[in-house]
């Protein structure tokens, strides 16, 4: 039974990847761009979920790492002659370093107090980026970032984004399923008991924060590839809360929840804003409904519904 499910899952996975791979052949340019954006935000939300859903950490201002990753890549590309791939990695590394520095300060606190110190540190970083005209371009941001020919075309950036996102999702999945991931979930469920059985709680959380920051930075660098711009709003707290919303809508106790949530939010924003300037109104109302009726998100809701059916089958089989 179990083996059957896992082969089935692999089959579904391959099919989904194949569909994503073939999409640019059928879809107009705009939709390819849109799906690239969904992948970027999906990766960002998934990276937040490493600490939020699996670690139980209130990382209120996750977008700082997204923004810093994007800015680092953009600055390396515009101000130095470093090869693209190194600039790309520099974004993720810069985000991871920042995450480490912030983590050292914040990790000793828990829950809401962690979140509040983190959001104030993040706001500090935002303020610096926002005002440092000579270096970051201030509130104008940086536009027309030179990305190599091969990945700057629509399809090129799509395939690059798809490949990087898939690799990152695979790595995150492996991390979650590793002993480290189990320890992290143990800490989420009961930090005191986890400490008692010999898990170094603070160090595990710090490592998790750095990992989340790293993948957040990758998402930021990917945004540079897709959009060729960076702007300080990428580090503003409203975007952080939006990413939170993505995790919530998709379901933060499911691995693919944040991905689904990101796709829904991006789709909603794009299509509703095509019809009306009051898209935030629609968006807000959808959010209120999700919070009222689907507190575990859409995937969480589906899983809950699927579970009893599976158990029924098991019982029938004896």
């Amino acid at each position: 039974m179990r083996k059957g499910t896992s082969t089935r899952n692999i089959g579904i996975g391959i099919a989904v990847v194949a569909v994503f791979f073939l999409l640019p052949a059928f879809l107009p340019r705009f939709y390819v761009y849109l799906i690239s954006l969904m992948l970027v935000y999906g990766l960002l939300a998934t990276s937040l979920n490493i600490v939020l859903g699996y670690g139980g950490v209130f990382q209120f201002h996750h977008c700082v790492f997204y923004g810093v990753g994007a800015y680092a890549t953009a600055l390396f590309l515009t101000k130095t002659g470093v090869p693209f791939i190194l600039s790309f990695l520099a974004g993720a590394v810069a985000a991871a370093v920042l995450s480490f520095l912030m983590g050292i300060i914040t990790v000793r606190l828990s829950k809401l107090y962690f979140g509040m110190l983190q959001i104030s540190l993040g706001s500090l970083v935002w303020a610096i980026v926002y005002r440092w005209y000579s270096f970051t371009g201030g509130d104008d941001g940086i536009h027309g970032i030179p990305v190599p020919e091969i990945i700057s075309s629509y399809n090129g950036s799509y395939y690059f984004t798809l490949a990087v996102t898939l690799i990152c999702l695979f790595l995150i999945y492996k991390i979650i399923k590793s002993p480290f991931g189990s320890a992290l979930q143990g800490i989420r469920d009961n930090p005191v008991r986890s400490g008692m059985i010999g898990i170094n709680v603070k160090r595990h959380l710090l490592v998790a924060l750095v990992i989340a920051g790293f993948f957040g930075g990758v998402a930021g660098s990917l945004f540079v590839v897709v959009d060729k711009t960076v702007f300080p709003d990428m580090l503003f707290w409203t975007l952080s809360l939006e990413v939170f919303i993505m995790c919530l809508i998709g379901g933060w106790f499911s691995f693919f929840g944040p991905m689904v949530g990101a796709a829904i939010v991006i789709a909603l924003r794009t299509f509703v804003s095509g019809y009306t300037v009051y898209w935030a109104l629609v968006y807000g109302i959808v959010m209120v409904f999700v919070i009222f009726f689907l507190p575990n998100g859409i995937l969480g809701f589906l899983e809950q519904r699927a579970k009893p059916a599976d158990e029924k089958k098991l019982i029938e089989k004896g």
Binding site: L117, S123, Y133, T238, Y283, G284
Partner: protein
């Protein structure tokens, strides 16, 4: 005049600017702190109510033909309008969610702030609005060291302490305030002795939001009333509340003072990065005392 005296004058006038900003920040964040302390809702929509207060001030002041009369009517009516709106929100949405996690409430209030933001756009449009400073407060007053202070700023400096004292009286001397403090500690127990906690919560929520509206009205004559003024303010108010200690009204005052002065003096020290100083101040305070400067009610 020698440079020393000139610098002194500059600093002093920046302090006055900072203090009038502090008044606004205090009025808004004390309301937020009250709601956070008693109801445990980290209310992001608080900033939207501040914005709505400012827009209502514009409408009311226009209705009464602008000028002095318009301002005074706005000062009276706009906070009441905001209070009514908040009462509807509380009875319609929040009262069902008090048992939920803080995180959910945070996201819910964020959703509400998006909804309110678009409703403002729907009702008032996306253009700048301005509310005239009433006739009485035109002109300056020279108090110390030959610095002219706009009369309206002096008025703000007067309103801040009045609000602080009224709020202190409400929380400490009225029956409602006492019940709300008890409910902040143990909601079920207060319910068990036969008090309608739900109604008390609604009242506290309305009082808190009234303060947000009042802050909006008071700030309206000094700035352009515009969409997006909620987003900058709410972060500041949130940080002030955290810095002062959750739910502590005097903490909100101290937090607002630190934030307001760091902002105005920071601009003097390093014009380009003036915006960084208040955030740095918050980080320093929280690194030393993560639970805030004064005792929090949590």
């Amino acid at each position: 005049m020698d440079t020393g005296a000139l610098l002194f004058q500059k600093i002093l006038s920046q302090i006055f600017v900072g203090l009038s900003r502090t008044t606004i920040l205090f009025i808004v964040s004390s309301g937020m702190s009250l709601i956070l302390g008693v109801l445990r809702i980290p209310n992001i929509a608080h900033g939207s109510l501040y914005m709505i207060g400012a827009f209502m001030a514009f409408s009311v002041s226009n209705f009464f033909g602008g000028g002095s009369q318009g301002f005074w009517m706005a000062l009276l009516l706009a906070p009441i309008g905001v209070a009514i709106l908040s009462l509807i929100t509380e009875r319609g949405i929040f009262q069902f969610l008090y048992k939920r996690e803080h995180l959910m409430l945070l996201l819910l209030t964020f959703a509400l702030s998006l909804i309110f933001g678009d409703l403002v756009k729907l009702v008032w449009g996306a253009e700048y609005k301005s509310v005239p400073v009433p006739q009485v407060f035109h002109g300056h007053l020279t108090l110390v060291a030959g610095i002219p202070i706009p009369l309206y700023n002096l008025f703000l400096l007067l309103v801040g302490p009045v609000v602080a004292i009224l709020l202190w009286l409400f929380v400490n001397k009225t029956k409602m305030g006492k019940i709300s403090r008890a409910a902040a500690v143990d909601r079920d127990m207060v319910g068990a002795v036969g008090i309608n906690v739900s109604r008390v919560f609604a009242a506290v929520f309305v009082v808190g939001c009234l303060l947000a509206g009042l802050g909006g009205v008071l700030v309206a004559p000094t700035v352009n009333v515009t969409l997006g003024m909620d987003h900058t303010l709410i972060m500041e108010a949130f940080l002030i509340v955290i810095m002062g200690g959750l739910g502590n009204i005097w903490g909100a005052l101290i937090g607002a003072l630190i934030f307001g002065l760091a902002q105005s003096l920071g601009i003097l020290i390093w014009p380009q990065f003036g915006i960084i100083f208040p955030y740095a101040a918050v980080v320093i305070v929280l690194m030393i005392k993560p639970t805030g400067l004064l005792k929090s009610t949590w």
